[in-house]
Assembly symmetry: C2
Homo-oligomer: 545 residues x 2
């Protein structure tokens, strides 16, 4: 028996586009003589469709697409995920299901039992968990169909759910398992996934076909890396990362095993490629081509510009250099050199005259109050407004260049440098931004050396440096990682050897700046805990603030 | 037996403050010779604590507070909600529970079974549903303890859950029911609640004590209105709205029934009082006192200013009048008159010189491209920046004055008039804003007549009117209500008699402007479907866009 995995880039609510992709993949799989072709979770409507699922009209469009997919199923079986309606009034109105379609009809539908409702996931918001489990027979083989999380409740000490769907299916003696997934990327996700797949195969002693999405849906990035596991616990094949792919496997060969064909990728390389894909799909799926960002001469905007140029092409990225009286000599030179290295268009607008216009109008109200954060923010906001003006005039989406460390502690100006349609590196700590810059320069110096080596500065007052008000980024990032990714409280972090006052100050800064993050553009997610929909914090709260 | 209901304004994560309130209420209840005093759901930590629940440290603080509450329980029983830990590794790590505490010890803990996970609710994100049900005996009475949603699965045709916890408890023959709740306000919530309470009492024939929170937690407003139901299906007492209160009831009298003591309140009155409370608590709980907003002379900023003055006091509200060359003669006069009526400080800053400074700097790049939305947005953003400059200098939080109709269709400028820490009327449709204005003027003309009667205009280009690009607000709001509140698709709305082209255009505008709402301040929620955490939409999606 031959089984194809179609690892596709779906688009939420683009039923026509998703159908066309599926149609092409079905016909390719037929050419490769596949008996079955498998797609991802909620492949009709894309993942995560969020509250569109609450619109009856949206579900109807998905159902109509299932009819059209069914019409493609002559001489091939099609496995794909889609929402289905719960026929009884009790419980949620929908299931998250996997369809088995063959010979022009839906042969079997298995609902998902384990509904991830944590981090970026909201599945119990929409779906009733499955309470019945079966298998489907096709060409003499018994197949267990599962959806994503259904295979994730084993292999850890603190399981989130009280059942494992495959335990319920095993008495029916399946020959192999198909798992249709939409597993979001994070730089450590592939390792977790391989661990879980191994645990499943070890427990059930069955080959497993795990099909993932690729492509980004706003902040959530899917990396692909679909896996075929042999019963010996080895990965017969891990498919490409960050690329659409269709590949056909012979079940007998998979059964034999003995291969361990895993993607080789380091953390920074993965983050780099994920962010490039994230930008590309944000623009492509919104129907935009062109980006704009401010280049300060600093490392954050430099790294963002490189990512944008690699995602969109040099002809589609333009930058603004906006020096103030506090900008160092190097800033404009470093920024200009980067723009030249990247071959992207740049303009220079000095912000002094606009700043003076604000200062004049505000003088009667501010009188002789001292220069403070107000005037710093005015500079940052003028830059944000100039980026937005070009965005409006020429149709370029502004890229937010803030990193995760500064987003965490609120070291950024709302409506200023926090402007933008998408936050490109806001899930990348400052220490990782440096690693990204070095990785980008590995073959040739793209980012000027001086941009990497000079002390980070916002340049909003004379001789300002980040280190005036923040600890070393190495220490800051460690504390932030424990608080954000590991959800440690202050006592635990202090017990790790960090200074008590510093820890309390940093955690307080994170919490009191929730209001800024609330109003910041979606963050391309590359870690296991990104700001945005996966981290939901009260603004008005007193804890650690 | 005497039972007190303490309807309190909790503060998320403010364990010290919440404990003090509970302590005072316990001692008051003792003075009133109560046998039992009841508090709300998650009364230790406030509701909704969101992802703070994922911090072990946060749960520990709640547990320590339970110990302190337990020490208060001599001569009185205390019923209150708090998170508890799930002792087994399988399933979520927490329960959402109600404690029964008496004689210095925790006598009984009942976990919540029905976990709301829709609209603003995320409870299955954190909590395992209860699988065991019991009752507690105290002074010869058997008491069924339930938490909020536990009583909400009856009385509707499409129940969200498959069980009713009280069905499980009835074989144990309880004498009455206590329900500790945190039920968010919407202008139609009290009617729904009364319907559900009646259905429960009719079904189980038991008196019921329903205890709600009052107070706002960022966007979510709790109205109070705690209810004591008699077994005859009548409301023995509905307690105050929008006020903290403690009231003690005699169980025998409640059993007799015959009273129906319900709050009289119309929709606009409720919205008005809810918004005043929402502003007051947003500032108070963040530790701020002072607000600033731009007054345009239009109705939205006028209504927002009145609400702010009523919430914070006239000495704590200041406004900026920021006319441009396109402002009509009346604008500044109407705004000034309102400020005088309200007794609030105002400053006038003409934006022309700042606008010219931008235009000068952009001229070499824009060359002879026509005046368009770019230049309109620059004006709106200058105003936003001036508000923010005063905010930074004087510590006033900026109020966003956008209404729900314009938020829906994107008729507002990101980083311009959409600036602000809290969106005061962004859950109030334009047609309702007019009703609010009339209500505010019922005793004396606070809002100048001209502000109410003149045609709405953004005044960003010569002779601009909202009606140039939008349909009549009466029609627009009807279409928006069907799409947003009722989740109707285009076909259903057209079938109601609306123009097909218009419906498709409006729905498309709602969807393509999701990126603006994503970056807008939290919205005080007064309807059953507000923008923000209760409406989660993809930005990159193709449905109806």
């Amino acid at each position: 028996m031959k089984i194809s995995i179609a690892q596709l880039n779906y688009h939420i609510g683009n039923f026509e586009g998703n159908f066309e992709k599926i149609k092409i993949a079905v016909s390719k799989a037929k050419q490769e003589n596949a008996d079955i072709v498998c797609f991802g979770e909620l492949a009709t409507c894309g993942y995560p469709p969020r509250d569109f699922l609450e619109f009856d009209d949206f579900i109807e469009l998905s159902e109509k697409m299932i009819d059209r997919v069914t019409a493609l199923s002559e001489n091939i079986a099609i496995v794909l995920g889609a929402p289905t309606r719960n026929p009884v009034p009790e419980g949620k109105d929908l299931y998250n299901s996997v369809y088995f379609i063959a010979d022009g009809e839906v042969k079997y539908v298995q609902h998902k039992a384990l509904l991830p409702t944590y981090d970026i996931f909201d599945e119990y918001r929409y779906f009733e968990p499955a309470s019945k489990f079966g298998i489907v027979e096709f060409k003499g083989k018994k197949i267990a169909l599962t959806v994503c999380e259904d295979i994730w409740n084993i292999g850890n000490d603190n399981p989130l759910y009280t059942i494992c769907p495959l335990d319920e299916m095993m008495p029916l003696k399946p020959d192999f398992v198909i798992n249709v997934s939409a597993s979001p990327f994070s730089y450590n996700h592939a390792d977790n996934r391989m661990h879980i797949l191994k645990k499943n195969v070890e427990k059930y002693q069955l080959p497993m076909f795990y099909i993932n999405h690729i492509g980004a849906q706003t902040e959530v990035i899917f990396a692909g890396g679909s896996v075929v596991m042999s019963p010996d616990g080895l990965a017969y094949k891990e498919m490409d990362y960050f690329k659409e792919a269709l590949q056909t496997f012979d079940l007998e060969e998979v059964m034999q095993g003995g291969k361990n064909d895993i993607q080789q990728y380091n953390k920074i390389e993965k983050i780099h490629d994920a962010l490039v894909l994230g930008i590309k799909d944000y623009f492509g799926k919104l129907g935009f081509k062109k980006a704009i960002l401010g280049l300060s001469g600093g490392i954050d905007s430099a790294v963002t510009a490189v990512l944008a140029q690699r995602a969109l092409g040099k002809e589609n990225v333009r930058v603004l250099l906006m020096p103030s009286q506090f900008s160092s000599d190097h800033s404009v030179n470093d920024a200009r050199l980067l723009a030249e290295n990247l071959g992207i268009h740049y303009d220079i607008i000095a912000i002094k005259d606009i700043y003076d216009a604000y200062a004049n109008e505000l003088a009667p109200i501010f009188k002789d109050l001292e220069f403070n954060v107000t005037e710093e923010n005015i500079q940052a906001r003028i830059r944000g407004m100039l980026n937005m003006a070009l965005s409006n005039k020429f149709g370029n989406i502004v890229l937010n260049t803030s990193n995760k460390s500064e987003m965490a502690v609120g070291y950024g100006t709302l409506y200023g440098d926090l402007c933008g349609g998408i936050s490109v590196i806001a899930d990348v700590y400052k220490t990782e931004v440096f690693e990204l810059a070095e990785y980008m320069n590995k073959d040739a110096e793209v980012i000027p050396r001086n941009t990497i080596t000079k002390p980070p500065s916002a340049e909003l007052r004379p001789n300002q440096k980040d280190s005036d008000s923040l600890p070393d980024y190495a220490i800051l990032d460690e504390i932030l990682y424990e608080y954000i990714e590991n959800q440690k409280g202050p006592q635990d972090i202090i017990a790790m050897g960090h200074d008590e006052k510093l820890v309390k100050r940093i955690l307080r800064l994170v919490n009191i700046n929730e209001f800024k993050r609330y109003q910041t553009a979606p963050v391309l997610r590359v870690s296991s805990k990104a700001f945005g929909m996966g981290r939901r914090m009260p603004i008005v709260g007193k804890y650690l603030s």
